[in-house]
């Protein structure tokens, strides 16, 4: 799927749909809000692929791993499909289910953390995507334990809200920036 930009020099953002099956009803809810943001940024287009599909990662400029429904944890049964994260050198942003996948692939577990609310997120380490304290749209029952290859970037009262790989441009956020903090997605795409 592509936006209407016909520029041949367009860079392509891969959005990975983490919902339980390809073309599920949740694709519209969790992937399309991200596409609305990419459509507003010149020289970028997008493709949405479900995690179960065969993907040629080399053709993409950046990768966004989208969130999924609160009750949908099917992606945790297919973590082998996300092993590519360890080997490629493309910037990645994991959102909600995406940060959980980053943690699990790097060997740490999820941690009970129910936040279905507008949450106060506090930056704990200076980074390229955000700063200070800000309100975020959160819908999750689990946060993560930070893998040793990553550092914490932000927290809420209840748990980790953002991480970054120590040596690569791989970010994870527990909240949904595509809903309330669109500038974070824009900044990531323009990295």
């Amino acid at each position: 799927m592509k936006n209407n930009n016909n520029d041949n020099n367009c860079k392509i953002i891969l959005i990975i749909d983490t919902s339980y099956e390809k073309n599920s009803i949740f694709k519209d809810e969790f992937c399309m809000p991200i596409t609305n943001i990419i459509n507003q940024i010149p020289s970028f287009e997008y493709e949405i692929k479900h995690f179960s599909e065969k993907i040629n990662y080399k053709k993409y400029d950046k990768i966004i791993i989208a969130g999924s429904s609160l009750k949908d944890f099917e992606y945790l049964n297919h973590l082998n499909k996300f092993e590519f994260i360890k080997t490629i050198n493309i910037p990645i942003l994991g959102i909600c289910a995406g940060i959980q996948i980053l943690a699990k692939v790097h060997g740490t577990n999820l941690k009970k953390c129910k936040e279905i609310e507008i949450t106060k997120t506090i930056t704990t380490k200076q980074n390229k995507l955000f700063e200070g304290e800000f309100d975020t749209y959160s819908i999750h029952n689990y946060s993560i334990n930070c893998p040793k290859e990553f550092e914490k970037l932000a927290k809420s009262k209840k748990g980790i809200h953002a991480i970054k790989h120590k040596n690569k441009e791989i970010y994870g956020v527990l909240f949904h920036p595509e809903i309330k903090n669109k500038e974070i997605i824009e900044t990531f795409i323009n990295l």
């Binding site: 009803i25 429904s69 279905i116 819908i139």
Partner: protein
């Protein structure tokens, strides 16, 4: 998946129903009948004719009355959803939420508490594209309530066709308001959709204005007719 839908009779719940029904089995409509016209969560105009829409859709309708006050409304909603789980075995709730974090988070919380899916197929949808989709799929939508400048009495009873769509888009561009009424600027009632087996026809109605830019269409009589 067996699902129930939060149903107001307006375009958003009807379009969410249409989109979801292409992939899942919608088994009941759930409607909160709010006594408060300023309801925080639910459209309150046109409720009396929901039964006719349910008949047109050939789906059972669960109606639960609510005073429409901020938090009791949520308790009443939870009660209605519990009833739908018990009676029809639903595994999830569909809503027509587009932009409202307030509405979306509260429904997500209730579904999480009851361990069922919350499904929002119109979430963050592009509003202008959405209007086009409604017309492309031949939804017949009437504006039945207005609550914002610059809308006046002549908007009441209008069908959203190409001309009205252009008027709504131009108005939204000029006054920075939502062209789909997401900020409560106007409310709608659906007279026909691809899922209706019969269509609705208004026999008599009256425009009631409460201020220059606030009023509603009081539908007095309506019937189901062949499509």
């Amino acid at each position: 998946m067996k699902l129930g839908i939060l149903f107001s009779g307006g375009k958003d719940s009807n379009y969410a129903l249409f989109k979801t029904a292409q992939k899942h089995n919608i088994v009941c409509l759930i409607s909160l009948i709010s006594e408060n016209k300023e309801s925080y969560m639910f459209q309150s105009c046109g409720n009396e004719f929901l039964k006719l829409q349910a008949k047109a859709l050939n789906l059972p309708l669960i109606e639960v009355k609510t005073k429409g006050e901020k938090e009791t409304e949520l308790k009443d909603l939870k009660k209605a959803i519990k009833l739908a789980i018990k009676k029809y075995g639903i595994e999830g709730i569909v809503s027509g939420a587009i932009k409202s974090n307030y509405q979306s988070l509260r429904i997500q919380n209730i579904c999480n508490d009851l361990d069922i899916y919350s499904i929002n197929p119109l979430w963050q949808t592009d509003e202008k594209n959405y209007l086009n989709e409604l017309l492309k799929n031949k939804f017949e939508i009437m504006i039945i309530q207005i609550a914002s400048y610059p809308f006046t009495k002549n908007m009441l009873g209008k069908i959203i066709d190409e001309k009205t769509k252009t008027e709504l888009i131009n108005t939204s561009d000029k006054y920075s308001i939502s062209c789909v009424g997401e900020g409560g600027e106007f409310e709608t009632f659906v007279l026909n959709s691809p899922l209706f087996q019969k269509k609705l026809q208004i026999i008599s109605s009256e425009k009631i204005m409460e201020s220059e830019n606030g009023g509603y269409l009081q539908i007095k009589e309506m019937e189901l007719i062949k499509k």
